[in-house]
C-alpha cells in the first residue's frame, strides 16, 4: 500500500518536473536509470553522468522501476543529482518481494518436508552510488577512439538481513535470519567499485548512432547484494563484467541489449547466472523517459529460470 503511494507520488513528481528546465545536453545522453540507481542502461552504469546537465549545470532525476519475475518482484525508486557533468550522486531503495511459494519451498527443503508452508517475505535494500567522470567526451570526441570513462563506488545496505521468516501461524523457527543469511551470506552490506567506458558512435550503423558500454565491477555481492555479501568460505572481491550495445533508431527511441556476469559465490540454491536483457527506451523529450525490457536473470533460489518484464520511468529536472 505504502509503495503504491510512493509510486503515485513519484509519477506526480514526473509530471510536475516535466515543466522545468532539465539541462542542455542532448536528448538520451543521460541514459536511463539502472535498477541500482546509477545512470546508464538497466543493469549496468554508463560513464555518462545522470541527467542532462552541462559543465555549468546541476540537474536531478527521479525514477520508479518495476521488475516482475514470477515469484520474485523487484520494485525500486530513487533519485540522483548530476553535478557539472562531472559527478553523479544517487540514492535508491530496492524492495524484493518473495512469494510464499518460494519461502515454503525453502523451508520444506531445509526441514526435509517437516515444514512446508511459510509466509511471503520481502527484502529491502538501500543503495548509494557516487560516480565521477574521469576522461573523454563519449558523444563529441568522434575523431578519436577514446571513450568517456567514469569510476564509481556503490554502497549497499540490507534492511532485512535479520528479518525472521514467518510461518503461517506467526512463529519463526529460524529467528533473526533473513533469506540472505539462510542461504549463506556473510554480510548485510558491501561496497562495489566500478569503471565504465562508454562511447556513442554518431551516424555509424547505416547512419544510426551506436552506443557501446563496458563496465568492470569489483564486488562481493551475491545476486546484486539482494542475497547479501560474501560467504563464510569466500569473502574476497571478484571482478565482474557488464556491457551494453544500443542503437538510437530515432531521435527519441533507443533499442539495445545488455549483459552482466555474476560471481556465484553462494552456489546451491542461490546459484547465479549471467544476466541478459533486451530493452527499448523512449525519450519523448528531455524531461522524461520510459524503458521496457525483457530480462533473463537465470537462476534465483527455487526458480531456475527467472525471466520477466522490467519497466523504468525516469523524470529529469
Amino acid at each position: 500500500m505504502f509503495r503504491t503511494q510512493i509510486i503515485a507520488a513519484s509519477l506526480c513528481l514526473v509530471s510536475f518536473f516535466s515543466l522545468a528546465n532539465s539541462g542542455s545536453r542532448l536528448t538520451a545522453t543521460g541514459g536511463i536509470t539502472g535498477f541500482e540507481g546509477a545512470a546508464g542502461g538497466g543493469i549496468t552504469p554508463w560513464a555518462f553522468i545522470s541527467g542532462y546537465g552541462s559543465k555549468e549545470e546541476i540537474n536531478g532525476t527521479a525514477n520508479v522501476q518495476y521488475l516482475h519475475l514470477n515469484d520474485y518482484t523487484l520494485t525500486t525508486f530513487g533519485a540522483s543529482l548530476g553535478i557539472y557533468d562531472r559527478i553523479e550522486l544517487s540514492a535508491q531503495r530496492q524492495t524484493l518481494d518473495i512469494s510464499s511459494g518460494i519461502t515454503s519451498s525453502v523451508f520444506s527443503l531445509l526441514t526435509e518436508g517437516a515444514i512446508n508452508t511459510a509466509k511471503s517475505t520481502r527484502i529491502d535494500m538501500d543503495i548509494v552510488t557516487a560516480k565521477v567522470k574521469v576522461l573523454g567526451d563519449g558523444v563529441f570526441d568522434q575523431h578519436s577512439w577514446v571513450p568517456q570513462v567514469a569510476v564509481g563506488a556503490q554502497y549497499k545496505k540490507h534492511r532485512d538481513f535479520d528479518t525472521t521468516l514467518l510461518l503461517p501461524d506467526g512463529t519463526g523457527p529460524l529467528p533473526n535470519q533473513g533469506v540472505a543469511r539462510i542461504l549463506g551470506a556473510k554480510d548485510d552490506s558491501g561496497t562495489d567499485f566500478f569503471v565504465s567506458a562508454t562511447k556513442l558512435y554518431l551516424g555509424h550503423i547505416n547512419g544510426f548512432n551506436l552506443l557501446t558500454n563496458l563496465t568492470a565491477r569489483y564486488t562481493k555481492a551475491n545476486t546484486f547484494g539482494l542475497l547479501g555479501f560474501g560467504s563464510a568460505s569466500d569473502d574476497s572481491y571478484k571482478l565482474e563484467w557488464e556491457g551494453t550495445l544500443a542503437l538510437l533508431t530515432s531521435p527519441s527511441t533507443v533499442i539495445g541489449v545488455e549483459f552482466r556476469t555474476q560471481t556465484n559465490r553462494l552456489g546451491g540454491l542461490a546459484e547465479e547466472d549471467t544476466v541478459t536483457d533486451a530493452f527499448i527506451a523512449y525519450f519523448p523529450n528531455k524531461s522524461f523517459s520510459l524503458t521496457a525490457a525483457y530480462v533473463d536473470l537465470g537462476n534465483l533460489p527455487m526458480q531456475p529460470s527467472s525471466t520477466g518484464f522490467y519497466l523504468t520511468a525516469t523524470a529529469n529536472f
Binding site: S24, R25, L26, S54, K55, E56, E57, D85, D137, V139, F140, D141, Q142, H143, S144, Y201, L202, G203, H204, I205, N206, G207, F208, N209, L210, T212, L245, L247, L248, S250, P251, V257, F259, D273, T274, T276, D277, A278, D296, G298, N299, P304, S305, T307
Partner: protein, 159 residues
C-alpha cells in the same frame, strides 16, 4: 547440464542480437573507411542530401534561430549572417565529401576569447539539428553530419 543447456538456449535471442550488432558495427566501419578517401564519390553524403543548396537552406534556418536566441544570440552581434552562412556551408560541404575547400578562419582562432560555455554549445547544436530535421534531412543524414562537426566542440568552448 540440462539446466545449463536450457538457459543457454533461452539466452540465444539476446546473444544473437549482440552478435548481430557487433557484426554490423564491424561491417559498417570497413565500408566507411573504404569510401572515405574518395571525397567526391558519386554517392557522397554531400550529394545524397542535395549538395550546397540544401546546406545553404539548413544553415539559413539555423542561423536565423541562433541569432534570435536569448542566450547565445549576443555572440553574433556584428557578425554578418551571410558571411557566417557561407563559411558554415563551405566547411560542412568539405567535411561531408563535397567539392568545397573551407577558406575561413581556423576554428580555434575564430572562437578564441569568446569564452563560450558548454551549455551554449549544446544550444547551438540543437538549432543545427532542428534545422536539418525541418529542412527534411533524414535522421541518419543528420547523425552523419553531426559526426563530422562534433570534434569541433573542443575548438569552440572554454577558450
Amino acid at each position: 547440464m540440462i539446466t545449463y543447456l536450457k538457459q543457454t538456449i533461452a539466452k540465444t535471442p539476446v546473444f544473437a542480437l549482440f552478435t548481430l550488432v557487433f557484426w554490423c558495427m564491424c561491417g559498417c566501419t570497413s565500408t566507411l573507411t573504404s569510401t572515405q578517401p574518395a571525397t567526391q564519390a558519386a554517392n557522397s553524403l554531400y550529394d545524397e542530401i542535395g549538395g550546397s543548396k540544401t546546406l545553404n537552406t539548413v544553415f539559413g534556418v539555423a542561423i536565423n534561430r541562433i541569432y534570435n536566441d536569448p542566450i547565445i544570440g549576443h555572440y553574433f552581434n556584428g557578425v554578418p549572417k551571410s558571411h557566417l552562412r557561407k563559411q558554415l556551408v563551405s566547411q560542412t560541404c568539405e567535411l561531408i565529401g563535397g567539392p568545397c575547400v573551407y577558406e575561413g578562419k581556423a576554428m580555434l582562432d575564430t572562437h578564441k576569447d569568446l569564452n563560450i560555455k558548454e551549455r551554449e554549445f549544446y544550444i547551438l547544436v540543437e538549432y543545427v539539428q532542428g534545422a536539418m530535421r525541418d529542412v527534411g534531412l533524414t535522421y541518419q543524414q543528420e547523425n552523419q553530419i553531426l559526426q563530422k562537426l562534433a570534434p569541433i566542440k573542443s575548438e569552440t568552448i572554454y577558450l
